[in-house]
Symmetry: C4
Subunit: 233 residues, 4 copies
């Protein structure tokens, strides 16, 4: 069963398996996609298939208008959200969605996650935004497509860059994360979950905990991401 999308499917498959290995999903509560910019398609997990039974062949290929290009199964029910983000954000290569415990808790609490420390600032300088729950008229419409709109609107209103802030919480729902590759989107999902738990515990110990001071936010972010970055090889 040869396919021109074999490598793309395998990248997508590996990223989905990693999501499960990292403890970010149970059952079918999550999905990862990987994009092929040259061909204008992306690979995504089929809907409702347990991770234990997932194979690279089961991965579905879809274009940015949600047409199935290859694959015998129905793609993730969140496919339209992925398609919308790929269409609007040319720089991203992969997207992950989970119902991970602490990320969901902040989303259900409808609170942004404040930047309380360097673990957070190593990855982004802003608070992690929690988008408002969707308006009723949008829910009745094209729901998953509109989730994508909801994310873009949130970034516009707050003047956030999706290149720097690679994660968001959807109020009363859960997290989406993205990155240059599907693997990076999964990495960002794990970072978000970790930072979400740290921030939760911080507020339990000190309800008046203060945000990291600006000089430290800048220092840590630029150590890893600035033009004079000296972290890593």
């Amino acid at each position: 069963m040869s396919s021109k999308y074999k490598a793309l499917k395998e990248e997508c498959f590996e990223a989905n398996i990693e999501l499960n290995n990292l403890g970010l999903v149970i059952y079918t509560f999550g999905n990862v996609s990987a994009v092929d910019r040259k061909n204008g398609v992306f690979a995504i997990k089929p809907s409702g298939v347990p991770y234990e039974k997932l194979t690279p062949d089961a991965i579905v290929i879809v274009d940015y208008d949600n047409t199935i290009i290859e694959g015998s199964m129905r793609p993730s029910s969140d496919t339209k959200t992925h398609a919308f983000l790929y269409k609007n954000w040319n720089h991203i290569g992969g997207i992950a969605h989970t119902h991970a415990m602490y990320s969901v808790a902040w989303a259900q609490a409808q609170k942004d996650i404040p930047v309380f420390g360097t673990t957070h600032a190593d990855h982004l300088t802003a608070d992690i935004p929690c988008a408002e729950p969707m308006k009723d008229n949008l829910i009745q419409g094209n729901y998953e497509h509109n989730t994508g709109i909801q994310i873009l609107d949130c970034f516009k209103e707050r003047n956030l860059s999706s290149e720097e802030v690679e994660m968001v919480l959807i109020g009363n729902h859960g997290p989406f994360a993205w990155g240059k590759t599907a693997a990076k989107a999964v990495y960002n999902s794990k970072v978000l979950e970790t930072v979400a738990q740290m921030a939760y515990l911080t507020l339990q110990i000190n309800p008046n905990a203060v945000r990291l001071k600006d000089a430290l936010i800048k220092k840590h972010y630029e150590r890893k991401h600035g033009k004079n970055a000296y972290y890593g090889q």
Copy 2:
């Protein structure tokens, strides 16, 4: 040792083992049963046997009046609760009972679990009910039988459907969950435990967290369970 209930015992055995694998029980703190509607009997875990030592042959076959039909061991001490539910709810195929951590915590707190997000709404539209602790005169009577009555009374008082709401907390005790099969009852036990932990964390982060809006509750539930459901294969 051939038995006409061999397949039923194996279904019951597998579901009990899965309960343990999912981290929902320690020692002997739980049990699962599976029903055979045609023969009017159900298979249930023997009482006090550790999961590590459980075999399909040890599973006990009981009828709806609690008469042992097959098996050399004493059935679970909660057998009468299972029997009562099977007798009254024709649509269910399996029942699971655990003392899982977060489910028990809500039961001991005597609080319903509010529907705070889509993880919950993907499975049921109502708050997960916590039945009031049993009245003293019922405790002194046929206790496990009366636990079944307690569950049915709770559903009647609140006008809940046991086809839509497949789980309940017994005040000061713990959760029961059910479903079309024993495997689904175990699945529902895991969903309940997950949702219970999410709701607990949500209230820790925001004591004034609000329930999911009705339009979203309906949308998520119908995405998976409505007549135009498009989740899964």
Copy 3:
């Protein structure tokens, strides 16, 4: 290296390993002993030996007056507490001491663990007692011996039976548990840790949570331990 205490050492060794497997200890933060009533000696973990390096031969045999009867290593630093309890409570066959997370948290909070539900009542009808921290003059004396006195005094003051209540918290320190065998002492340590976590979460969800009603406490305890017990085989 044959020894008349070979079986006793092995019982003690297995119970110590199980303590570690159950996640109740890290490093050397715990110890289990097993008694031989006929010979008036008990077997106990050597002090400061990591569980990964423990062997049955390393187990030390000690009498009730803390004299080493067999073994080339120094016994646990808590040996005198074990000896004192064996000397005073003829009915017990094993003792376990840990620094397990939730048990220690209640001990450090200096609070008894209220009987909030049936998981607790299945094992004991009383709140789990937290003994007051030791008086200064006793600390300067024979500390570990006096820890034994502290436990007995606590049970006397509260009129508790060490046959029914097989566990205690030492204020600002941690838990001791016992039972008919070393394995039962380890079991009780795990039950204590589980009930401690459940009670902690219950109070987080509902700070006004109430104790289980007396009729239910009695019912659940007698289901398992009364003269008409019908739990188990």
Copy 4:
């Protein structure tokens, strides 16, 4: 590829792997170093290398002035902090830095960890200090070097001995721990994380929990570390 630092690199490698095995790090969020006092150099993890891909050969050898002596990779971005501590504290043989969950939560809350019990007192008699976040002018300067200054200043201001208190929290950042060897530094990191979680839970159960009384602090510490210590072999 023979090297006069082969044994040192292996010690450092093993300690880094243990940090990961103990669940104290995810991805590249941590590092351990081991010093060779005779040659005035230390071995440290390369920057940004995942633990799964780490080999003894990849370990970098650096002197106290941060000059790379051996190794083809860039050393940890925290190298200057390690160098500063080795230069100023002659008695230490290893240093570990993590972003472990509960340690970070206390650091982000900017709170010292009070000595609430004997688990803490078995290791140190003081509260675990949380150094104030760095002043802005120091952040803009030689950041990682200044983190070392920040630690020393904290110990001077509070009159703490780095031989007795082998751990510190950096406000809004995370923990550093040290010891006679790299393995001991890792051990202290695990003890710190455990004590941090215990103290967090203690305050959740009893916001008015009191510090361990002085006589008990002294007793437990001297049991293990005093001149008449009787813990261990």
